[in-house]
Amino acid sequence: MTAPKAGASLNPYRDVLGLEVTPERLEENLAAFSDILVELRKLRNLNLTDVHPAVVFDPTGGTCDEETER
């Protein structure tokens, strides 16, 4: 008999996505999400490999002053 794999005990919604709701609420959320998923799938099918995201990291945190910029 082999031991169950560690991943088998993980609940994909509660443990992986952090959505801690009752089974009834989960059903409601998934039903509401189904229309959104149609749109997300379109986005997922786009090839944007060479496109930098619009959000740009700023190591100064926007707090750089003249002295530190020298």
Partner: protein, 464 residues
């Protein structure tokens, strides 16, 4: 148009206030009286300021002493209740008692007070600025219809003359949608133009602050007062703030106005489509050159804004989610906040990648254009109990339809203004949206003002 001061735009009131022919005290008393008489029915305010009259007396004293602060001095302005205020608690539309916010002025409110404006009260919003309905606020043109949202209280208050102007916030259309449905002007400036510190966040990279006003000229006045650096908002840019009123009254001769024929057309109520085509013709008749174009990538926009808005809102409400407080949210908002967990990290970043594509598409379109015109909403104000409407021969969810034409400019951050461009057969306003290049609000205001001045839509008022 009525001669009552609160039915007149700020641009007409300001010279009267400056010259001492109109007192800020009389103006604020008139606003408080109208709120008392009409707001039990409209439900546009959640709080009325207890210090507004004292503030008006102080403004009157300053003006008498020659300390004129500009065109907003002594003018009653309403504030959407997701902006923090030092003298009134902020609830951001939620009834959850354990969720509270600091008693201090948001950057925008501080800017308005510095310009001499009188904060008259806080207006109702859809909970946490989600949604386009704003229950239980009513549309002043038809009390059985919604005012739009999430800044529905602000739009209803301005159109009903309960305040001379109001502040709203716009994540997917929340200034422009209620402006369109209530017949006011609503301006979402460029992302980064107005500081947002002290506004309860909804989605950091989509949220915009902006005014709802009677006229385009009033929007120009408020934009100038509100713009400028905000050390508390990392996204706010320290750019030159022009005198936007200089753009008003300029001819449209030689301007190139684009009409994006995909996405924004083809799925609108017939009366809306007809009104916009007429307005486009009117813009041509006053000097603009009209050019049709298309942005095919708009078909991916809905997935992108859902990914960003849902995941951002869920991140903001994460502590409430884990503490179980979201169970006390309104059912629609609770579902939206919980659903954000289902958006993955790659979905979010793919949406941010897509944003750059869409920004580039509009950048290229603007190489041959000065402004873009679209309808603001595909439909006029719908009944409170309606969940679907007939559009282009089929039923569509009112929530899905209501923001379809506005959210692209939250993804791109471009400035966009909604102005009235007609009324349907039930007497409900129709909105036209004018968009310009980044930080070129002056161009959007110029086109909007030229159209406004060639019609009398802005002078019409609902019977309350």
């Amino acid at each position: 148009m009525s001669a009552e001061p609160l039915d007149r735009p700020i641009e007409a009131l300001a010279p009267e206030l400056h010259a001492g022919r109109l007192s800020p005290v009389a103006l604020v008393e008139a606003a408080l009286d109208r709120i008392r008489r009409h707001d039990e029915m409209l439900k546009s305010f959640v709080q009325v300021s207890q210090s507004a009259l004292d503030d008006a007396r102080e403004a009157a004293r300053e003006i008498r002493q020659g300390r004129w602060k500009g065109p907003l001095h002594g003018v009653p302005i309403a504030i959407k209740d997701n902006y923090l205020t030092r003298d009134m608690p902020t609830k951001a539309g939620t009834a959850v008692p354990d969720i509270t916010f600091p008693m201090k002025d948001s950057h925008a409110v501080a800017q308005l007070r510095a310009a001499g404006a009188i904060v008259i009260g806080k207006t109702r919003l859809h909970e946490f600025a989600w949604g386009t309905v704003t229950p239980p606020t009513r549309n002043p043109w038809d009390l059985e219809r919604v005012p739009g949202g999430s800044s529905g209280g602000s739009a209803a208050a301005v159109m009903a003359g309960l305040a001379s102007a109001a502040l709203g916030s716009d994540t997917g259309g929340s200034i422009r949608i209620p402006a369109s449905l209530c017949g006011t002007v609503g301006l979402k400036p460029t992302f980064g133009r107005i500081g947002r510190s002290g506004i309860v966040p909804h989605s950091w990279s989509l949220d915009h602050a902006g005014p709802l006003t009677r006229t385009v000229g009033d929007a120009a006045l408020l934009l100038r007062a509100l713009s400028g650096p905000d050390p508390g908002d990392p996204s706010c840019q320290d750019r030159l703030v022009p005198d936007y009123t200089a753009a008003l009254g300029q001819s449209l001769q030689g301007l190139r106005i684009g009409v994006c024929r995909n996405h924004f057309f083809g799925r609108n109520q017939v009366v809306v489509a007809e009104a916009i085509e007429t307005a486009i013709g009117d813009l041509a008749s006053i000097g603009a050159t009209i050019r049709d174009f298309e942005v095919p990538n708009l078909e991916y926009g809905l997935g992108a804004i859902f990914a960003i808005e849902l995941s951002s809102s869920t991140a903001y409400h994460d502590a409430s989610l884990r503490a179980g407080l979201t169970a006390q949210f309104e059912p629609d908002v609770r579902t939206l906040v919980e659903m954000g967990r289902l958006v993955t990290g790659p979905d979010y970043l793919k949406a941010e990648q897509f944003r750059r594509v869409l920004i580039q598409d509009f950048h290229e379109a603007f190489e041959d254009l000065d402004a873009i015109v679209t309808p603001t909403t595909p439909l006029t104000a719908w009944a409170h109990d309606a969940t679907t409407v007939e559009i282009a021969g089929g039923p569509e969810s009112v929530l899905a339809a209501s923001w379809r034409l506005t959210y692209p400019f939250n993804l791109t951050g471009l400035p966009a203004i909604s102005i009235p461009c007609g009324f349907d057969r039930d007497g409900l306003p129709i909105g036209m949206q004018i968009t310009a290049k980044p930080f070129d609000e002056a161009m959007a205001l110029r086109v909007a003002h030229a159209y406004e001045q060639s019609h009398d839509w802005w002078t019409r008022r609902p019977q309350l």
